[in-house]
Amino acid sequence: MTKDHRHPILVLYGSQTGTAEEVCERVVMQSRGSNFSCSCMALDDYNIEDLVNAEVAVFVCSTTGQGEPPDNMKKFWRFIMRKNLPPTCLADLKFGVLGLGDSSYAKYNFVAKKLCRRLENLGADPLLKLGLADDQHDWGPDAVVDPWVTEMWQKLINLHPVDEQYTSPLGSSLPPPGFNVKMENGNSSLVIRDQLFVNGNGMKQTYNRKHPFLAPVKSNTRVTSVDHFQETRLISFDVSAVSEELAYEPGDVVMIQPSNVKADVEEFLSALPFAADTPMVFEATTDCDFSIAIPKPVTLRELAKNYLDFMSVPRRSFFQLLAHVSSDELEKEKLTEFGSPEGTEERYDYANRPRRTILEVLQDFHKTTREISLERIFDIFPIIRPRAFSIASSPSKHKGELHVLVAVVKYKTRLSHPRKGLCSNWLSTLKPLTQVPIWIKRGGIRFSRNAPCIMVGPGTGIAPFRSAAHERSSSYSQAATVVFFGCRGKAADYYFEEEWKTLPVKFFAAFSRDQEEKVYVQHNIKENAVELWNLIKHKNACVFVAGNSKNMPDDVKSAFLDIFQAQGNMTSEEAQYFYEELQRNKRYQQETWS
């Protein structure tokens, strides 16, 4: 029991892109004012020793990559799987596991499934069945998340009924706000600079989400032909000041914290009833476990530009909160409908399917928007998430620089204005010298210097391989490099065309739309079956696949399985087993993105 007699609940997550983290934040919001007190954090931030003494723990875990746990629970994973943990050590713990995954992947929700089983084997008592949320569901993960969380609360309430001084987590009344706001009046001579993130005082440090490096843009060039429908840009950042602290290797990933573009910020500010440039101080209330530090003081304009993700698609909790604050009959009725479980289909049709943004919803519900209070800003609006990009530059060849190859996301739904990817569109507008918050993350693929490498990277998937190819050539590596690239047309999007001619690699390009029949990377792979088999079987070669995750990785895998069967004289089972062996030995690695 906590000091105020509320029951402590651990809410722990493993989150790669922030979805699991956001689910947990909503759970915490529900618990405000109730007889449950939630502590919410990433699994690797939790002091694992304490778990044996916890009463209730809720685990929300995504599965990422090829069936792996997200980065912020890798440490926890290696602990919980230790052989020496005895079967009754968690006997006093009640738990629930909610998995977030995508059933188009073979290892669908493996992390949640394994964790649930492991916890049971260690004696812990499940409160409710394992929840498996699926991106492939028409309604996305919320189709499972919402009912699972509801059931979880019901089970907890059964254990610890809510008495009158508290509100129920499942109640429909408005939970208390997460922040208190104070206006900073007077002192208008206070110059508020863009104090996004405070850089260290020149001392060497590691850069991360809390302390990113503000990298100036060096150049920002379009690399697809002007008449091609897809705009892709090569952006170079100046990292010469921090070449040691921001050291990277081919295969590594750069995290970029984007902001909203000016036009959207202006539209957002004009929808809200607040002054854009008054400095304010936000203090978190006791229940609020806020992972991002908000600068003090801060203006609404700064928040709109750098923090508030009003260009994302609203979730159910958004409509629920707005319904509460609304006093306009027509709008309140519609908001309540969208916020209710019965209104899920309507909400999906209104918001999710057309990818309607929070800003557009605010404009539809403009009366309610003017009733939003400042202290609810962080309850209502999610925070902008950082995005990951494979690094396209080579540390040796492009000294002091860091390159990313960015496909600018733009598409139409039935809404009249086209949909735009927040990060890619923001990046596309940046002029040289603009500062961008970045930090490095270890990538999913690692190149071995001495073994031959077979690299398959259609489209922007070529980025890590351009990095590796330059690095290998700069370090005079003797091992062979074979690159399979694919794109739509030689004149349209043949990335780094001139560079491949000068690099010591065997390069194969497939231009899918330059002729009548489609030619893809897998066709070129099959054509070179003999040589590829020789490299893999006799020269210890490693295979790398990077790019868009729809069908390409499976098509490429099929091509290799065919080679194993034909050249290696294997049955299809043997080929599959050979493929799995290669994976186990890190000789078949994949980095894919959607």
Binding site: K83, N84, P86, T88, K114, R118, D134, Y350, R414
Partner: protein, 272 residues
Amino acid sequence: MENYVKKSQNILIVWHEGRPEADMKKILEKIKSNIGGGSIQLENQQRLKLASHGKSSFDISFLGVFSPITAISEDILIEIARIVKPGGRIVIRFAEADFSDVSSTLKLSGFVNIQQDKDGFVFGEKPSFEVGSSLKLKKAIKPTTPLDKNTVSEAKKVWSLSAMDMNDDDVDLIDDNSLLNEDDLIKPDAASLKVSCGSGDRPKKACKNCSCGLAEELESGKKPQPKAVTSACGSCYLGDAFRCASCPYLGMPAFKPGEKISLSDRQLKADA
């Protein structure tokens, strides 16, 4: 035994090799006359599973009718539990058996309400809700006896000791793939992920103060007729959330009433 059947029931009689003590024909006849229009299925114990009867198809199943049972396998019982209807019964005549042993075997196979009558017949009932996954044997190794507090606190000490050394280069890990069983590898059925898509089957909605007649058409159950593109209901300026399904302004942001908005050719064509 024949007294336990009712009219029109489907009976399953599972027999095994052994010297019949009673006259099989006579027993069968008696059962037949008691069930009238029902049916009797005779099945040899060894061949029961091969027969693959449909699930929940029998009202009652007998074992040991012709000669009493000396041993019964869980496998057979589980199969019988599968093909007996919810609420249906199993009746077993044993030669000699310890009731508590028999009872726990029956429970593990999915039967409830295990009883023994004065003639020594053992009864069980299949629960009257479809049990589903609780019939499967769970892979989790949970202690079945109440835990000794000492055991648990010793176990917790091991955890704490282990946690003190988070440098895990030397620590052995289990193979986490061993945690998964066959069922875990099953992916959701594609149909279960689909929700009926809005555009086709869903009824068109009229806006709140509909004045174009769509609301009346919908109420009277008539299929809405395609109309020329006009707006008289006054809801068009409100935004997609409030517009009816045939609104020409769908997809456009909200605007002020009276504001001039030009519609593209695409938008001017009414939806069929």
